[in-house]
């Protein structure tokens, strides 16, 4: 008997199997997103934007209108779409560089303006596609290609606590959460709430997803899981940081 994995309807079957590395967290995050899009019935309203880095590999991932942009510029392209056509459900999908380094300016401003977009930011603590350099989310002491002896905070500063920053600068109607591929059901719930927040036009919505990169971490399956589940959560606590009060009525 051929057991086919159950694929979300909003996934594009023709481009599967996908191009992500074995053990990459993107597959799981995009599965959660795909399921949410299906459950919410918004497949024909979504515009999905992906950045430069491994996220660009999702450019033909969905049966959903997709635009692959420039590094760090996914947020403004999605903002531009949302402003011109507010009926679109826009999702800006990016990595830690696209969101916290080259794209931080745009993230901060979109959040501050309370643009009604949803940002899903994949945090795997490294710049993966370019070979594993330090990212804004590299943890103190962590070895990467540009911190071969471990990230020294005296030299390279501290990691970016993205959801914490976003929670601080957004308005009351914003939704901010940090999930993980190690807690799939919770991650999927956060993504769903984020998109519902946009649908209801309450405010900016942001989900950081802790993710895996065995290729650049140079870890085996066991160590990979340990890193995301145990190590990363020491620096990046999971949970909802901001949940808008939904007025009944």
């Amino acid at each position: 008997m051929d057991i086919q994995p159950k694929m979300p309807k909003s996934w594009n079957a023709a481009t599967k199997p996908h191009k992500f590395c074995p053990g990459c967290g993107h597959g799981l995050i995009l599965k959660a997103l795909g399921q949410v899009i299906d459950e919410m019935g918004i497949q024909d309203r979504v515009v999905f934007g992906c950045d430069i880095g491994c996220s660009l590999l999702s450019w033909d991932f969905f049966n959903v209108d997709t635009v692959q942009t420039h590094h760090g510029r996914t947020t403004p392209v999605m903002v531009g779409i949302k402003k011109a056509s507010p009926d679109r459900i826009v999702i800006a999908y990016m990595g830690d560089g696209g969101g916290y380094a080259i794209g931080s300016q745009h993230l901060v401003n979109a959040a501050t303006r309370d643009d009604k977009i949803t940002v899903i930011l994949v945090n795997n603590t490294v710049y993966a596609m370019t070979g594993g350099q330090m990212a804004p989310t590299t943890m103190p002491g962590q070895k990467t290609e540009t911190t071969p002896f471990g990230r020294d905070v005296a030299q390279a500063g501290y990691p970016m606590m993205g959801p914490e920053m976003v929670a601080a600068i957004t308005q009351e109607g914003a939704y901010v959460a940090r999930g993980s591929v190690a807690r799939f059901r919770k991650l999927k719930e956060y993504i769903r709430k984020a998109l519902e927040n946009q649908l209801a036009m309450r405010g900016f919505s942001f989900v950081e997803a802790l993710s895996t990169c065995p290729t650049n971490w140079r870890t085996n399956a066991e160590k990979t899981w340990e890193f995301v589940e145990k190590k990363m959560t020491e620096q990046y606590p999971l949970g909802e940081l901001k949940v808008p009060v939904i007025k009944e009525g």
Binding site: D44, D60, V64, D65, Q68, P76, G80, K83, A84
Partner: protein
């Protein structure tokens, strides 16, 4: 539309003319970031927009202004932005993406002194940047205007050129045009028989993606050289094919000219007055004005230059127009005299003085 009833004679700054033109053209949204000398475009737009149900977003920088404009265009709306100087430098990043993905953006550039911050006032030093900026081949359309009427006319035209041919389109003016006041006639393009090219959405077309229609999968990344080559070949071919339809220029007294003066934009105004004055005196001087800097009227310049003894290139830059002229005249052996004043205006008197120096056989 119907923003302007009949023809309206007006007396305003260039920046205001641009805002009115965009309104008349049916632009639905402007994205922008302040930088002198184009700030008034968005200031007028924000005042006019609500009355006509148009939108505006002030972004955090020019990178965002360019990328949000792309976003607006992707939804099938006429969207535009404006910038200058260092903002134009930043704008090249989004414009590279527009070039790569054939996204019909419209950008108005009000040139100021360069490089870096320089002056907020005037120059023609953003020719190279606007024509060939970014990491591509300059597959763009660039109109260089020299009067308020042209600023109005070509801003409207820019939307049509962009949406018809799908190359990023620029209206290249400068700080003098932006800030000076002169008269022009505002009009509704439809009332003048100008049919606005309809727009088309790139994303969000009706129907279920994957069922009723294919999903839009828009990218600017390729895996191997050959993939890129195929895309570029197609784009370059289309660009070259459409060029003759888009090219615009103006010329005067080119037959047997002792000197053919070549100038663009506001400097052309001075050159034209100088040339006509000397031509009235019976001197054999003519001018050639490229209106589209991209695509450049190469054939037409070569034909005019073939009839001339020498050329004189006049610009408020240090060779940005000159370089384009030389490139397009390759193989033709004729002397080219230059009057290059980077960042400074050129008056008709200066052009006359220089022309007389040559024509009367005197050299400094």
């Amino acid at each position: 539309m119907g923003v302007i009833e009949g023809e309206k004679k007006a007396f305003m700054t260039g920046n205001e003319a641009v805002a009115w033109a965009a309104l008349a053209a049916g632009a639905e949204i402007m994205y922008g970031y302040p930088i002198t000398p184009q700030n008034e475009i968005m200031q007028y737009w924000t005042r006019l927009a609500p009355k006509h149900e148009r939108k505006f977003l002030q972004t955090e920088d020019e990178l965002s202004a360019g990328f949000t404009t792309i976003g607006g265009v992707l939804t099938g709306k006429r969207a535009f932005t404006a910038t200058a100087g260092p903002g134009n430098v930043l704008m090249q990043e989004p414009m590279s993406m527009a070039e790569a993905m054939r996204i019909p953006t419209v950008v108005v550039v009000q040139q100021r002194g360069g490089p870096s911050t320089a002056t907020v006032i005037y120059s023609q030093q953003e020719v190279t940047l606007t024509c060939f900026g970014g990491n591509g081949e300059g597959l763009r359309v660039v109109y260089s205007t020299s009067s308020h009427q042209e600023l109005y006319d070509y801003t409207i035209k820019a939307f049509n050129t962009a949406w018809k041919y799908r190359f990023p389109t620029f209206v290249l003016a400068d700080g003098y045009q932006a800030k000076m006041r002169e008269s022009l006639v505002l009009y509704d393009p439809e009332e003048r028989g100008i049919e606005m090219v309809p727009t088309e959405a790139f994303v969000g077309k009706p129907g279920m993606p994957g069922e009723d229609r294919p999903p839009a999968h828009l990218r600017n990344t390729y895996n191997i050289e050959e993939e890129l080559e195929e895309v570029l070949k197609k784009d370059i071919q289309e660009y070259e094919q459409m060029a003759p339809e888009i090219i615009e220029y103006d010329e005067f007294n080119t037959d047997g000219a002792d000197i053919l003066v070549v100038a663009h934009g506001v400097v052309f105004r001075s050159a034209a007055i100088a040339v006509r004055k000397l031509a009235d005196e019976g001197l054999k001087v003519g001018y050639f004005r490229p209106i589209t800097l991209r695509p450049f009227p190469q054939e037409q310049l070569r034909q005019a230059a073939a009839k001339a003894k020498q050329l004189m290139v006049v610009e408020s830059a240090y060779g940005q127009l000159l370089k384009i002229v030389k490139d397009n005249l390759y193989g033709m052996d004729l002397p080219i005299r230059t009057l290059l004043r980077p960042g400074v205006g050129v008056t008709p008197e200066e052009v006359v003085a220089d022309l007389r120096t040559v024509l009367e056989g005197r050299e400094d």
